[in-house]
Symmetry: C2
Subunit: 244 residues, 2 copies
């Protein structure tokens, strides 16, 4: 009575994915939403620069939660706060806009476009493994994204449920415990070496997926991993091929 | 940026399903597993009677948690304890078997067969709504079942996450909160009037699905609801048709 047949020697039963940058192209999606907002309000700004500023607040905002300086709040709350900071960084006073419009703009993080191989790659891995996100996003964000982008996860356990933000070890170990698996039976697939390093430290198996255009066509992101991760590829489909 | 278009006047955005009896035929699945166990150990027993005894311990066992008489434990733990009681009720001493074999038998609750319309009905509703279980099962049980039975949920939030067993109101309200929805935007679909009554009391919308054979071909289960639920049908597909 079991449904999968892992063909690697890793003993992996679940492949969980980092989402922002690994499964979806947050920069293009956020820039498009900022561009629409700018058009509607006759603002002159570089939407990709605003996207980068907005994302730039991501780690510092989570760090205030991880450090205990503030109680846990969801990534939706942090994204909304960080939007105000990003606008100010570009000389725009957020107080000049209706709150509903800023709330709507902030919800663009729920509807980011997938990389071209993401939906098919996840579907392929799903035939032999449990698949889900392992993201700092909250469950409702990840659910909206999955419905819109056609990502057929087996289940979605957001950071609002673990109440831990990566790279806190609890963020990696909690999903394994919920699934009734040992940490080593769970693989993190991610485009970021630091995420994979923390996952390995927590006992998980690791797969690197190169996303050289995460920070834009000219940013020259890494196309090869720094670490010797268990698997590495340039698309989710390549990882699927290695797993089966 | 939204993905669904509820066509009813109910304002429902998520349809969550009771599982045991509503989505899967627990009695046939458990009887088959008991029958295999009996064959392997040369036991004479009526597998359906053992299944009924096993299920008979379900509500009393959860009631000890709901009442606070014991701390929360998962349904996996309760099912395993209840198996010992069910065997004893049929004159069989569970101490006479290796623990692994009883553990394996107890895992039959993870791999119950769906009713014939379940997978297609859930898939149809999923095109317009968020779909998931709202079950007393734990997440790993519901995940194993979904993979084996081909139930394509959007997400799985088991009772181990809410730490509440239906009909505790928290069991109905917690999933709505995680989804960022009002209770009235969530519909419970269930074959049991008492479950639907508690869901309505907690503010949810309700759909009755008749499963007259839940307790066997001769048990004469209800084919019509007792309550005036928002929707009622004889299959999940009928509910899908009413929702779209």
């Amino acid at each position: 009575v079991t449904f999968h047949s892992p063909a690697t020697g890793l003993g992996v039963r679940a492949v969980l994915f980092d989402v922002f940058g690994t499964v979806v192209d947050w920069r293009s999606g956020i820039a498009a939403a900022v561009d629409s907002f700018a058009d509607a309000h006759d603002l002159r700004l570089d939407p990709h620069a605003v996207a980068d500023s907005w994302r730039g607040q991501y780690q510092p905002a989570m760090q205030r939660v991880r450090s205990g300086a503030r109680p846990f709040v969801t990534l939706d709350v942090l994204h909304r706060e960080n939007l105000d900071d990003a606008l100010r960084a570009h000389g725009i006073d957020p107080a000049g806009f209706p709150a509903e419009e800023l709330d709507l703009l902030s919800r663009a993080w729920h509807f980011l476009p997938p990389w071209p191989d993401s939906a098919a790659g996840i579907a392929a891995i799903r035939r032999g493994y449990i698949v889900g996100p392992l993201s700092n996003g909250n469950t409702s964000l990840l659910l909206d994204m999955a419905k819109a982008a056609g990502l057929d996860w087996d289940l979605i356990l957001g950071s609002d449920l673990s109440r831990a933000y990566k790279p806190d070890p609890a963020a990696y170990r909690w999903p394994a415990a919920v699934l009734g698996l040992e940490p080593g039976e769970v693989m993190l697939a991610a485009a970021h070496d630091a995420d994979l390093a923390a996952a390995r430290e927590a006992g998980l198996a690791t797969a690197f997926i190169a996303r050289p255009f995460e920070h834009g066509p000219d940013a020259g992101g890494p196309s090869a991993p720094e670490g010797d991760w268990d698997l590495a590829g340039t698309s989710i489909m390549e990882i699927a091929d290695q797993l089966t």
